[in-house]
Amino acid sequence: MTTRTRGAAAFALAAAVACNQGLEPAPAPTSCPPGFVGVCGTVSFVGQVPESTAKVFVVAFDTFPKSQNDLFKFKPQPSPPNLPLGGPPFFYTLPLPSGRYEWVLAVWQKQGTLSPTNADSLLRETGFYHDKGDTTVHGSGIVIVNAGTGTDSIDFVVDFNNMHRVCYYFPPCP
């Protein structure tokens, strides 16, 4: 192989490697993607979104919080996936480590700087997953996440007309 040929081959190799595409458009999933670990499902929206809304997101707790301090033991950290502010039913994916989860819920967050001391005024539970027919306060919506596969059909309703403060679960309310 001549020097020129080697140079041309090296250039061709570099060009071939370079032409490989990077990130591509990724349509939102309609079912748990292959290999995804976590829970998936569809949330439906009811009611009018308050003007003071900062965002709405979905989180999971492996055990139901026993105090306000437990509220920050949610998963995934640090930034759980957002939900749209109303609109048609929305398919969500919530990446979680494999394990058992007692509470999968949507949280409405008011505009402002969130801290443990003002969680009661800035956060609201606005919907959660529970077994059909269950009417307990926070539902018995136990979800098992297995390694290597997603847990699908964890569907629930986000009701902006029926949101609950933190003190609803940890009374008394001021």
Binding site: L23, A28, V37, L83
Partner: protein, 730 residues
């Protein structure tokens, strides 16, 4: 003038230092047709002495040590020329140079000596005589790349990678959102890391004022102290030439639109434009330069507009032949929208996509930052005799930021005052001793970092002894650090090394300890992130690392130069954020042990024809966080296993064309969003330039293939950008 084989002159090199007094060397630098070169650089190798030619091609070098010296003359696009002289004390000698274009087909009758570097040993030395690896980004490369900031210019250097402005030398830092750089930035040898966060402002010095950049790899704390854990980047500003000089540089460019309709986020093509001007005036006694400029960018993604303004000045006063006072300063201001993480489904108008890389999450709309930074420094250098020289310097770096984010504004002002006294002695033939003392005070006043200060004092010394063909080096530095007036804590950083010149090239080996003291931000930050409270940790102590290196630099043929190094770093007590979900708190702690080892290879060649220069740089990196507490051994986040850069440039008379291809392998591990799709980085930059008289035009097509990728979490890397730079020089 007659060129001579420079390799044969090495034995004479150190003899130049043995004269007792100084002389003046002067002359002219011309091209083959006799036309004078303006701003050609003439230096005395092995010293800090240098001068630029005026418009008539004249240069003058006072304070040259008596004895045998090697002079080097260089100009962009031309082969360096060398000459030796014997000058007597109090005498003057003339040395004229004729430079030949580097495109000549006939090989030139001398061996090209590697560049002189000043950072690896805190003194001037030939590159191949440094005990650690040093990469140099020359003025030629800076001009060719036609970039706007120092980080863009350094990004393609061997073993160097930037992650959204955070520099990594052999994987030193990873990505920690600008906090606590494990690389020390120097501007003309003056430390310039921020006083509060310990990070680096790469736009502190206008690129137009930069002569070259030196990157020292591996622990450099034995000379430079804190932050030089993973390496040192020294930005060296231009010397000022005698006479009147003006340079105006105008840049314009456009960003590619998103390659897919579903990603489009605006109905116009983003642009960038900038204007810089530099003026200088110099006599034999005093020289001064002033520069200023700014640029605007629409950005390549949503909420990415940026305005930048800068000014800089430099004064060079030579009251005596061997005495030089240099004062310099700069100020830069950036006002920019803050493009927080890209939007994922539900966070914006996602158009049915899982993520929108060009759009940001609506929760981050309106985020804006103003960042001001500036420094002043003064250095007094005196060559008392050919055996002894000293310098003293003082510096002040000030940074100010204001972050405006929805519902959360932060601000802070930080200062870093520094002073250093350094001496360089040649007590015996073949021996060079560097000693010095350094002090610094950092303070911050901020709503998230509080009001705090840190004082550092240090003493250091390093000696090099030539024994036959070997140069042996040993040295150490001791740093004392006190925070808020509290007790002193001490850190000792030793280093030993050797360079052996053989027929198979120069072999080098070194072992050194580096450290980084925690920044005031890491100790005292108090804020809220994603609802979690970040609490201070005043008890943080310095992180440390031992670095070992074995390398070889060899010219395996007249047209091929190779530099290879094996490196091994063992890091202890690395400072990382520790998240405690039980308490809802984040705190910086000394938690991690890490190992970074690998191979650093660079090869430059002029194959086929001297008109074509090519380079290859490859780094293999094994980066592991070692097991501690409940965390198992795992890859360090944001470190690529493979980093490859291929470069080629072709010059035909005054026209040049070239390009770089950078491959970064997919990160084995990332933080924050480990489930996100990750791709390798494959970026091709192309460039073309033409010079005609005082005008030069350079075009640059960065990321020519418009490769869409990210390297830090949910942050799109720059897309294809076409820019044209017009420079007029008087």
């Amino acid at each position: 003038m007659r060129s001579r084989p420079v390799a044969a002159l090495f034995p004479l090199f150190w003899a130049t230092a043995l004269g007792a007094q100084t002389a003046v060397v002067y002359g002219t630098v011309r091209d083959e047709r006799g036309a004078p070169f303006h701003n050609a650089n003439v230096v005395v190798l092995g010293t800090a002495l240098g001068s630029l030619t005026d418009r008539e091609g004249h240069y003058r070098l006072p304070g040259v040590p008596a004895g045998r010296i090697i002079l080097s003359a260089r100009f962009i696009g031309h082969v360096h020329a060398f000459d030796t002289l014997t000058v007597a004390a109090g005498d003057s000698a003339e040395a004229d140079f004729t430079l030949r274009p580097s495109t000549l087909d006939n090989p030139l009758p001398f061996v090209v000596v590697g560049p002189v570097v000043v950072t690896a040993a805190k003194r001037s030395q030939l590159l191949d005589q440094a005990i650690t690896s040093v990469a140099v980004v020359s003025d030629t490369e800076l001009a060719r790349r036609a970039v706007n900031t120092v980080d863009e210019a350094v990004d393609k250097a061997p073993g160097v990678q930037f992650l959204y402005g955070q520099v990594n030398i052999r994987g030193s830092t990873g990505y920690v959102q600008g906090l606590g750089s494990r690389v020390l930035l120097l501007v003309d040898g003056v430390p310039a890391n921020q006083g509060d966060r310990g990070g680096i402002n790469w736009d502190l010095v206008p690129l137009e004022d930069v002569q070259r950049v030196e990157i020292v790899k591996g622990a450099g704390s034995s000379l430079y102290g804190s932050a030089a854990l993973g390496g040192v980047v020294n930005v060296l500003t231009r010397d000022i030439a005698p006479g009147v000089h003006v340079r105006v540089r105008a840049t314009g460019g456009t960003y590619a639109n998103p390659p897919h309709d579903v990603w489009k986020f605006r109905d116009y093509t983003g642009a960038e434009e900038g204007l810089d001007a530099t003026g200088s005036y110099g006599t034999e006694l005093v020289r001064a330069s002033v520069s200023g400029g700014g640029w605007h960018s629409d950005g390549y993604r949503e909420q990415d507009r940026r305005d930048h303004w800068h000014t800089a000045a430099k004064l060079d006063w030579r009251p005596l032949a061997a005495t030089r006072l240099t004062a310099s300063g700069s100020w830069a201001s950036d006002q920019y929208q803050t493009p927080l993480i890209w939007c994922t489904r539900g966070g914006c108008d996602d158009r049915g996509q899982a993520y929108q890389p060009f759009m940001i999450d609506t929760a981050g709309r309106g985020a804006f930052t103003r960042s001001d930074k500036g420094y002043v420094s003064a250095t007094l250098e005196r060559t008392a005799s050919a055996r002894f020289a000293w310098q003293a310097r003082g510096s002040w770096l000030r940074t100010r930021f204001s972050d405006y984010q929805p519902g959360n504004d932060d601000a802070g002002i930080a200062n870093r005052f520094g002073a250093e006294l350094r001496a360089l002695a040649h007590p015996a033939e073949g021996r060079v001793v560097t000693v010095g003392a350094e002090g610094a005070r950092s303070d911050v006043a901020s709503d998230i970092f509080g009001d705090h200060s840190q004082n550092e004092v240090a003493a250091y010394g390093e000696s090099e002894q030539r024994v036959g063909r070997t140069r042996l080096t040993a040295g150490a530095r001791i740093d004392y650090i006190a925070v808020d007036g509290g007790g002193l804590s001490a850190v000792v950083s030793p280093r030993v090394g050797a360079v052996l010149e053989t027929s198979a090239g120069a072999w080098r080996a070194s072992a050194g300890r580096g450290f980084r003291g925690p920044s005031l931000a890491e100790r005292f930050v108090s804020t809220i992130v994603s609802g979690l409270v970040v609490i201070p940790n005043p008890d943080l102590h310095p992180e440390t690392a031992w670095s070992l290196e074995l390398g070889n630099a060899a010219r395996i043929s007249p047209s091929v130069h190779v530099d290879a190094a094996l490196f091994w770093t063992e890091a202890h007590d690395l400072i990382e954020p520790n998240v405690n979900l039980g308490t809802g708190q984040i705190q910086f702690r000394n938690v991690a042990r890490a190992r970074l080892a690998g191979l650093d290879l660079s090869l430059s060649a002029t194959p086929l024809t001297p008109r074509l220069t090519t380079a290859l740089a490859y780094t293999f990196l094994y980066a592991r966080g070692l097991a501690h507490d409940t965390v198992p051994e795992r890859p360090l986040a944001f470190r690529p296993k493979h980093l490859l850069t291929l470069s080629a440039d072709y010059q035909w008379h005054t026209v040049s064309a070239g390009g770089d291809f950078r491959y970064t392998s997919r990160f084995e591990r990332v933080e924050l969003y480990p489930g996100d799709e990750r791709v390798a980085g494959k970026v091709l930059d192309l460039r073309v330039g033409v010079e005609r008289g005082p005008l030069s035009v350079r075009g640059r097509l960065a990321n020519a293939l418009n490769y869409i990728y990210n390297q830090v979490p949910r942050t799109l890397a720059p897309v294809r950008t076409l820019s044209v730079t017009l420079t007029w020089t008087y």
